[in-house]
Amino acid sequence: MSNLFFGLDLNLAEERYGAEAVSDIVFARRIALSIDNDPLGIDYYRFEPTITKLCKDRDGSCVERSKLAEIIAYGDAGVFLAYPNPSLAGGAIREMADEEQKKYFFDFIEQTHCTTFTGITEPQHGSDVASLETQLIKVDSNNYQLTGEKCFITHGFDGKIGVVVARIGSGPLGIQAVMLKEEDLEHGVQEGTLQRELLPIVGMRGTCLSRMIFNKFSVSVNNLLGKHLRVSQRGMFSLIKTFNRMRPCVAAFALGQAQAMLDYVKIAMLDSSSSTEALLRVLNAELACARGSLYESAKIMDENPLESASVSLVKAHITRLTEHVTLQLINHIGAAALCEHSLFLKWSRDIYAFEYMEGTSDMQKRNVSQEYLMRVKAVRL
């Protein structure tokens, strides 16, 4: 039996990620092009073993999640982002929800295998949480109303449960996250207080990037997150930790995708010329170096999720490296890379999405320099 499958060498995949990872990789690779063509078609596969594993994840470490993200992304990163799983919303719930809310959220995902969303980004201010305009206004002691627009939300169109961040008061302490459940979302759409729209994107289409427009959308007081926490720990503070824990996973998607492209060139394009071998050796060395930094930063996040510098550095570095690897490969192989291989053509669109996930490179670099300078100042004092 051939060990080659959709441009995968199964022996190499096992060598890279272990025998137990191969089925996750093969499944993602097998459906990569069909999900790119019809991202909502993931629903058909939602009880597949890989998705079951993801939907059962309640308290996995950042290292474990990042490793699984890299494995699945080696199959296809777009498929990973299409998969039902707790995702960033799960991170926010872990950070801010009380025990009852956590149980509801994770039980719901484990039972339904649904996609989830996190609404933070807004049209006028991007993901600058301090400038949020979406308002959460108290109606009475049991009810609030949500009004505002969220954009570029992964699975905002199809997610059955998620988290939205809004402003409940002024200043950095006036940030409040709420959990939106399936029945709230359905009711909102029926009542016309919620519009959900799939955005026409050209890369990483598995994300089902969407916009959500809330207009006096009803939110029960029971769905406000962090009521059991001190005010200073509910909003921005918890979001920083949530984002930091997610960043190694985003870097891991990018790394898995870059590794997949490198191996694909050798396996599927059957290019073993000495110049290609030399290029692949250099690029593989760069990826191996980045992988070391990635898992070190994921470990740091497991120990101290407020230490932003290392994850920001890794996210910015691996994003740039993935773009660099792709451009180098296309330059080296030429039109054949784009015109003979549907997967490579798709990947050449997908790789640009990493830049915009969980903060752009400029924002990450600002985190790195700020924290580094603060550390130097602290040492001098």
Partner: protein, 218 residues
């Protein structure tokens, strides 16, 4: 009032890529040619009239091939624009014509001028958009990091203008790719939407790999 569409979700520029590509080909090679082939690859800009007899051109002359002598690759984003990429498998007939090298150059010129026009138009759209959008109390265009990216962009565009004016295309593909990456950084998440800079950058990449690229030393 701005002439540009500042709606976040709408494509800011409509330079009618598909129609333009088609008209460039027709103007240079005539209406009966269905694709221009570069190094055995081609971009199909309209459905084939007769799949069993595909008429294209390359630097040598007219190429006529049967259905089993070429292959078309399906991609959803290309298909939305009515485009497809393909490659020649060999075995086809070719009719030599001494004028075709010159015509290929004219075709390249039209493609590159189109790309430059799109990049300049998108840059102007972003200038207006970033002047109107406020972050942390001031217009985004005034941020130090944005100004640096802007300067890098101006550097690429000035080089592109010079090269295009001098009909020198050797490093044009590289400059187009770099300019598009800088535009994408300035545009933010909207860059990923249809008709925005990432789609155009990707399409220009395909066009340039087929028709303009000069090897792997860029």
């Amino acid at each position: 009032m701005s002439d540009y569409n500042l709606d976040l979700y709408e494509a800011p520029l409509d330079l009618q890529l598909e129609r333009s590509l088609n008209s460039f080909m027709e103007n240079v090679f005539g209406a009966d040619i269905e694709a221009v082939v570069g190094e055995d690859f081609f971009l199909l800009t309209r459905p084939l009239v007769d799949k069993s007899m595909f008429r294209s051109v390359d630097t040598i002359g007219i190429v006529v091939c049967k259905e089993d002598e070429y292959r078309i690759l399906v991609d959803p984003i290309l298909a939305q624009r009515g485009l497809a990429v393909g490659f020649m498998l060999g075995g086809y007939r070719e009719v030599f014509d001494a004028n075709y090298a010159t015509k290929i150059f004219s075709h390249q010129t039209l493609l590159i001028r189109y790309e430059l026009a799109w990049i300049e138009g998108y840059m102007e759209h972003l200038r207006i958009s970033l002047t109107e959008r406020i972050s942390e109390g001031s217009p985004i265009i005034q941020k130090e990091v944005v100004r640096r990216i802007w300067a890098d962009l101006v550097e690429r565009i000035e080089s592109l203008r010079r090269l295009v004016a001098g009909d020198e295309y050797l490093i044009v593909s590289k400059l187009v790719a770099e300019a598009c990456i800088l535009l994408a950084k300035l545009a933010g998440g909207r860059a990923l939407l249809r008709g925005q800079v990432i789609e155009m950058s990707w399409l220009f990449g395909i066009i340039n790999e087929i028709y303009i690229a000069v090897g792997d030393d860029l």
